[in-house]
């Protein structure tokens, strides 16, 4: 392993590759931080600039862009409550609350440090165990995935800040929205009203930007007081000793959870931050702090996010199978450079394989180097008067959404979901569980139907397969733990009236 790693560092530490890694991280961060431009859009936008490079350099730069974009997505989640992708939805919950309390710098710093730590661990993890862990991914068939998604949905219940009943509503609504679009198997249009742009279903970016981005702008326009508080209070820029002490354990746990879930193909990495948040909230002495700016709610999920982002490379590099949309884009990038990913990349292109792993670590270091100084800049941005800030958010959102598919109608849809999100706020619903339901819903239906076709219609397949059964047991346990106190609480509330 060490000889391999040194080969990797030999490749990654060449001056050119270092420069490319730095450039990638920097550009990725700067583009990814624009509200409305998530990691997938960022990578798609920046993909062409790597065309002229040699394959190893291009991939190192792309990996840099990927980390930068990931972190950029978390930055917008904290600063303006717009998650760049599904994995940073959780960060909005406490991260943005921290920003509202004048602790944006601390939140960003914690996210950067936690991510760096998680990145380091995950890199070692990939280098040491990448090959054997591949088998884990192959143990998961459709039935196991379905059970995993069910477990994921149970996490969503715990995410709720207020009423559990309303959280359930949002999850189901997310699931319902996820079924819009052409049916994968039969090609029948479902709930599209014959409107062609809906044929591929609702885009995650469109939904997230609408219910988070636009709706947040509308909410802020209404409450002049709260948004001015953000501007008035600028606390310390970096986490202090107390903050770090509070974050250490969540970071460790988040790294472990995110790292393991990230290996699973079929976008297991999405679950990492949610699982980490659930765990921290359950372990906390005072769970009511969560959703009101608890630092553990940023440290844990952000570490899980980055660890998962990193270990998601394992199925790609060892199996040659991309586990999610971002990785599919990386496959495209590799193919353009003449490297077709497959199980033999490790043996056939060792300098590429180990060079990339080494550059992951270097990329994480660069991210820290770039972002700690930038924290001050981002926090200063919060001082821009809101009357200028929200039109800027809006124009970036519009251009970003438009650029994903070059479809103007996507922008109009986002506006529609903005109205929808505003209604949800008014009705006291939290959008985060809905987004989780939405993301998991598509996979869940796909996996359910696959599993049932393979098992010829027997639901027992979910219980007969040990991993699947185990996951379902965990799901039930989570649900029971989540529901019991709240049932008691509701009773208490009534008693105190």
């Amino acid at each position: 392993m060490f000889s391999n790693l040194s080969l990797g560092f030999g490749v990654a530490l060449s001056l050119q590759n270092l420069a490319l890694c730095f450039a990638g991280c920097l550009v990725g961060t700067l583009i990814g931080v624009l509200p409305g431009v998530g990691p997938i859009a960022t990578i798609a936008i920046l993909l062409p600039i790597t065309f002229g490079l040699d394959p190893v350099g291009a991939l190192i730069m792309l990996a840099g862009i990927y980390y930068g974009a990931q972190y950029g997505g978390s930055t917008t989640a904290i600063l303006v409550n717009i998650p760049g992708e599904a994995t940073s939805v959780v960060t909005t919950l406490d991260g943005h609350q921290m920003a509202k309390q004048g602790r944006a710098g601390v939140a960003l710093g914690t996210a950067a440090l936690g991510s760096f730590f998680a990145g380091c661990v995950a890199t070692l993890f990939i280098a040491a165990l990448g090959a054997p862990l591949t088998k884990l991914a192959l143990l998961f068939g459709p039935a196991e995935y379905f059970s995993l998604m069910v477990m994921g949905l149970c996490f969503a219940v715990v995410l709720a800040r207020g009423s559990i009943l309303k959280a359930f509503c949002m999850i189901m609504l997310g699931l319902l929205l996820s079924t819009v679009g052409t049916d994968l198997e039969t090609g029948q249009e479902r709930m599209t009203m014959g409107f062609p742009p809906l044929a591929d279903g609702i885009d995650f970016a469109v939904l997230a930007m609408g219910v988070f981005g636009f709706a947040e702008v509308l909410r802020n326009l209404e409450n002049t007081e709260t948004r001015d508080v953000v501007r008035a209070k600028i606390g310390r820029l970096l986490p202090g000793w107390d903050d770090i002490k509070q974050s250490i354990k969540p970071v460790l746990r988040g790294t472990l959870l995110g790292g393991i879930l990230g290996i699973l193909p079929g976008n297991g990495a999405v679950l990492g931050p949610f699982a980490s948040y659930t765990l921290e909230k359950k372990l906390a002495k005072d769970p009511s702090r969560f959703g009101k700016g608890a630092i553990e709610g940023v440290a844990g999920p952000e570490s899980a996010n980055n660890a998962g982002a990193q270990t998601a490379f394992i199925p790609l590099l060892t199996l040659g199978i991309p586990p999610n949309a971002v990785m599919a884009l990386m496959v495209g990038a590799m193919t353009i450079h003449g490297i077709i990913p497959g199980p033999q990349v490790m043996t056939k292109n060792p300098e590429l394989f180990w060079g990339m792993i080494a550059s992951m670590w270097i990329g994480n270091l660069m991210l820290l180097v770039i972002n700690l100084p930038l924290v001050g800049v981002w926090v200063k941005l919060l001082q821009v008067p809101y009357r200028l800030m929200f039109p800027s958010i809006l124009i970036f959102c519009c251009i970003g959404i438009y650029s994903v598919n070059n479809q103007p109608v996507d922008v109009a849809f986002t506006a529609m979901f903005g109205l929808f999100g505003y209604l949800l706020i008014k009705l006291g619903f939290e959008p985060a569980p809905m987004l989780l339901g939405f993301v998991l819903g598509k996979l869940m239906e796909e996996k359910l139907r696959q599993a049932l076709i393979i098992s010829r219609g027997s639901f027992m397949t979910f219980l007969e397969r040990p991993i699947s059964a185990g996951l379902l047991v965990v799901a039930v346990a989570i649900l029971v733990i989540a529901l019991l106190p709240s049932i008691n609480k509701k009773r208490d509330e009534v008693f105190t009236e």
Partner: protein, 172 residues
């Protein structure tokens, strides 16, 4: 007799208008979804049809909505608060104007030429800016020009995105 029972004895009345509206909203959405997926076949267990999950989810949504309605009659909660239509109108309107202008649009009798970012950009900022209650018109106009130029330079030139700039003037 516990307080709970006293409360219950007072009969059903709306104790949380927010929860009541939320419950009705869920039922409404579920109804729409059910109507829209009405014709989709449910399929069999072995081969689930395209209608199975949408209809099941819609049914659960409606049930949850009904639970919300019931709980709004039994438990105290938030009241519905005021609405601010000014924000909704200008902010979401601005996004829609962007969607209409960027590539042009034909909708029945309405024909919008392809105006590009050079027009759509400033329009987004100007229109959405009207939503602010501390509006400063002169500042907004300058900001619209500066910001649109910056966006054009960033997205069109630095990142060379295929976004139309001003096809009617520059041909790109």
């Amino acid at each position: 007799m516990s307080l709970n029972q006293i409360e219950r004895a007072q009969g059903l009345r709306v104790r949380s208008s927010q929860d009541l509206a939320a419950g009705l909203f869920m039922i409404l959405l579920a109804g729409i979804a059910f109507v829209m997926s009405y014709e989709l076949p449910m399929g069999t267990l072995r081969q689930l049809g395209p209608g199975m999950l949408p209809k099941s989810f819609a049914a659960i949504c409606a049930a949850l909505g009904a639970l919300l309605v019931i709980s709004s009659l039994r438990f105290h909660g938030e009241k519905l608060s005021g609405w601010s239509w000014r924000g909704v109108f200008f902010v979401l309107g601005a996004a829609c104007v962007f969607a209409l202008c960027i590539r042009g649009f034909d909708l029945g009798p309405i024909h919008v030429p392809q105006l590009g970012l050079a027009v759509a950009g400033p329009l987004v900022i100007l229109i959405s800016g009207l939503a602010a209650d501390d509006l400063k018109p002169k500042e907004l106009v300058i900001f619209a020009v500066v910001m649109s130029t910056a966006c054009a330079l960033l997205f069109k030139y630095a990142l060379s995105l295929p976004i139309p700039l001003a096809p009617w003037l520059l041909g790109i």
